[in-house]
Symmetry: C2
Subunit: 253 residues, 2 copies
């Protein structure tokens, strides 16, 4: 019996936040093992050779550093590593990935202090570079919103594919005026040895995912086994499928 | 022993979506009994005289019509009735409140078909009328976003306090252009007999609550007993406190 290609850690449980990425991967035929946010990572998770490790709202305090180093070795040899944002990702309120073996091979520098940015005003994604993960999706004509993100800094030789544009919205007569306040990197990709690495600053699930979860007119229904059913926008599903497949180097399939 | 003044039905459980309104009411000293979304309403819930009934993501199919009629009688005599939006509110995908005793006394007309509007693009709230629920909050200078809402029509003699402005965002050079597509009523208030009624089309919890949950710079931490802790924006907490207090006619306190 061969090991499942993808390890997915975090996003609470398959009945809550993890139902989103779990549903998307299930519908895309990507087989994975899952570890909920409250559990500790065990050696069996990192022992077999994997194609991709996904860490999303999973605190570093639940991932023993010797086991993190085995992930890093796998990445050097060609496995992918993807961290997705949230209150327990990157630094977060309780992510605490700064200065850890996994945090150190991500394509971004993680801050030492709480890096959460909660957006009560319009925050939109814009593509900043051509790349198979983002090409062909309607970033320009239908820029999706997000609800928040972790603040991080791209490392040298990484590539920023998406950035957030934060606007202030003010009432003006019967309309609104929008003024750009600042920009922030949202999707950054890189390499570590032979492996692909990616850091997505926003969340794959509510509430930080914002309008991105409903991106597009066509709705997609999906459900991970033993998890909650989801109904999301077509471009949301397409974007996360591509992100997972590219980072796992399954993108040629 | 006197009955608790507020009945709160729905939003899944106190450990999930109901942790938001549950947390806000707890922190505001508003005592309530709670019924999770999956449960059936029992006679003991509607027997004592209450000050307010809140129905939020709770399907009409779990609220027997004879018991709904007892709520309507209480409203006629002066109790408040508040429905808050979601996939199981108003018509929703599974709310099915159209043509029910409770649905018929709300200040809005509920549609017969799925009324859900999921917003992947910027959707902002604007105050349309002065009223104690909305006065003094920074709607104009810091218009908050929402992520979705139920489409409904205000009844004659009701009052619209908030509306949503739906924009299309398109990339334009280094910036974005925003064009107003349409508006929709979001908060509508009315009366039934002696009781105050209110319909809020967006959700109190993710994902439809959008950026509204983080509205303001100051963070508020709260926790309902036996529920999940929340951390929200100050104006979000203030807005929902006022909405509950006004509809319950506790606003003079």
């Amino acid at each position: 019996m061969s090991a499942k290609p993808v390890v997915y850690l975090g996003d609470t449980t398959l009945n809550t936040a993890a139902s989103y990425l779990g549903g998307v991967m299930t519908q895309d035929g990507i087989d994975f093992i899952y570890v909920p946010s409250g559990r500790r990572v065990k050696p069996a998770v990192v022992a077999p050779e994997r194609k991709l490790f996904i860490v999303s709202d999973f605190s570093a305090t639940h991932f023993p550093q010797p086991l993190q180093r085995r992930v890093v070795s796998q990445v050097k040899r060609g496995a992918g590593l993807l961290m997705i944002g949230g209150w327990e990702s990157f630094r977060g309120s309780e992510g605490c990935w700064q200065g850890t073996p996994i945090g150190d091979v991500l394509p971004v520098v993680i801050g030492k202090a709480d890096d959460r940015v909660n957006c009560d005003q319009p925050t939109l994604l814009a593509a900043t570079s051509d790349h198979p993960i983002v090409d062909g999706l309607p970033w320009s004509d239908r820029a999706p919103t997000i609800g928040g993100f972790n603040r991080f800094r791209p490392r040298p030789r990484s590539r920023v594919l998406l950035e957030a544009m934060l606007f202030q919205a003010r009432r003006a007569g019967n309309g609104m005026t929008f003024s750009l306040q600042r920009k922030a990197p949202i999707l950054v990709i890189g390499k570590h040895g032979q492996g692909r690495t990616a850091a997505l600053a926003t969340d794959v699930a509510p509430h930080w995912v914002g309008g991105l979860v409903d991106w597009g007119d066509r709705r997609v229904a999906a459900q991970v086994p033993h998890g909650e059913a989801i109904e999301v926008g077509e471009y949301y599903a397409a974007f996360f499928s591509r992100l997972v497949r590219w980072t796992a180097a399954l993108d040629e399939l």
